[in-house]
Subunit: 229 residues, 2 copies
DNA sequence: CGGCATCCGGGAAGATACTG
DNA sequence: CAGTATCTTCCCGGATGCCG
């Protein structure tokens, strides 16, 4: 006898709640479970399939991903779209409101890079890298750049357009960009955030532009330890 | 590689990690555990003691609060300050970096108020209410107001200063403010966010100002349900 | 292969009782 | 008041297996 399936996170009514009118507390009820926000991050550049999500979330297990997808769908943050047969494959995409969660991801990321425990040299998904560019882009340094930068990252392609001190990034064919980076997201992060030499990367096109691009994303300083105010 | 031993939550090194260079993922390692961010919220207006924290976090149990405080201290987000004997009482306060987490709380709160599941009529701590004012203040509506608003909320006192389209809120003696609200935070929230009549509140001083004040914090519209793009 | 259900072990959260 | 100790419950993670 199936006893209501224990309402594994999908049911907001019986879920563990905070009983707090604070909006922040409610946000944590919606996306505070483990992995939930990272699932949203992976969907920030467009729909993905189950296995694509798993690939971008190192260590998540299939059943937990299923639970998070159920919960996020019940909360109207994502929606599942069934592609037409014969390729009757399901894909998951953010709702409009789900896309509005982008500042949450950015603010958290910007704050956490000041942590002494943050290590930018670990594995990184393509979506993470692209999101980090949106987050850390320095408008002052990028003010005079007008260019398109392409990325080919294990099959996924992105294009960043820099103009008027802003950066816009979309999932899109990289061919035709002024410069194209190819390879693992981690290797590119090592250059942009870890100071590794540009020569370690596979770069096609305007190499001087590539060099300037990698300097557009300064990390904030680490916190001072041992301050005993 | 398996994780050895329990290391009850306080040890960031052996804690459950995401193994992801993404700053957002690291932020979740730091403050993603249940209650952690709400503890930070409670400390946003200054140091508090253990029992004061419990009072503002309905439903947290003492051992969990202890674990969160240990973890947040190990992560350099909070610090414990021992007051001098004979009142050798401990208090917890945010570090400078901990205070920098305020945008996280605000962005989450603003986003979640659009959720159909958000109910502003639930219990609310004083810190939550004050933080919600900082978060939802409408600069346009408040542009022409220049005033100080006092609050007496179960013993805690706050003052909000509105000037030049900005609002600043501090824990401070409410006496001398142009208008003073007294009572339960929930009752004030019912007026500001729930449309309850001002007459349900204990208001001293400039009553017209009080009425204008309660209209300065519009909630964003709820999301459209059933959109089937 | 993609998605989901089920079982299991370990660990985190919740509730209560207890101590300095 | 400020936690600790203990017990229970639930969630997370891994493995397996079913079904289209």
């Amino acid at each position: 006898m199936k006893l209501e399936k224990a309402t594994n996170g999908a049911d907001t009514a019986t879920k563990r709640r905070f009983y707090d009118a604070c909006g922040t507390a409610h946000a944590l009820e919606l996306i505070g479970e483990r992995w939930a926000l990272l699932v949203i991050r992976e969907l920030m550049f467009g729909p993905k399939r189950f296995s694509e999500l798993r690939a971008g979330l190192p260590g998540i297990s299939a059943n937990v991903l299923t639970q998070r997808l159920e919960g996020l769908e019940a909360a109207h943050i994502i929606r599942r779209r069934k592609l037409p047969p014969p390729a009757s494959v399901q894909a998951y995409e953010l709702t409009d409101w789900g896309y509005e969660a982008e500042p949450i991801i950015q603010v958290l990321g910007r704050w956490a890079t000041r942590s002494p425990g943050h290590d930018p040299m670990q594995p990184l998904s393509a979506a993470s890298l692209m999101m980090s560019f949106r987050t850390m882009f320095d408008a002052v340094r990028g003010k005079w750049i007008n260019a398109t930068i392409g990325f080919r990252l294990n099959g996924e392609e992105f294009v960043a357009r820099i103009a008027n001190g802003k950066i816009a990034i979309k999932r899109e064919d990289a061919a035709g960009a002024d410069v194209i980076f190819a390879g693992q997201p981690t290797a590119i992060a090592a250059v942009v955030y870890g100071g590794a030499p540009l020569e370690t990367l596979d770069v096609k096109g305007d190499r001087a532009l590539a060099a300037r691009f990698t300097g557009l994303f300064p990390l904030p300083p680490k916190i001072e330890l041992g301050q005993q105010v």
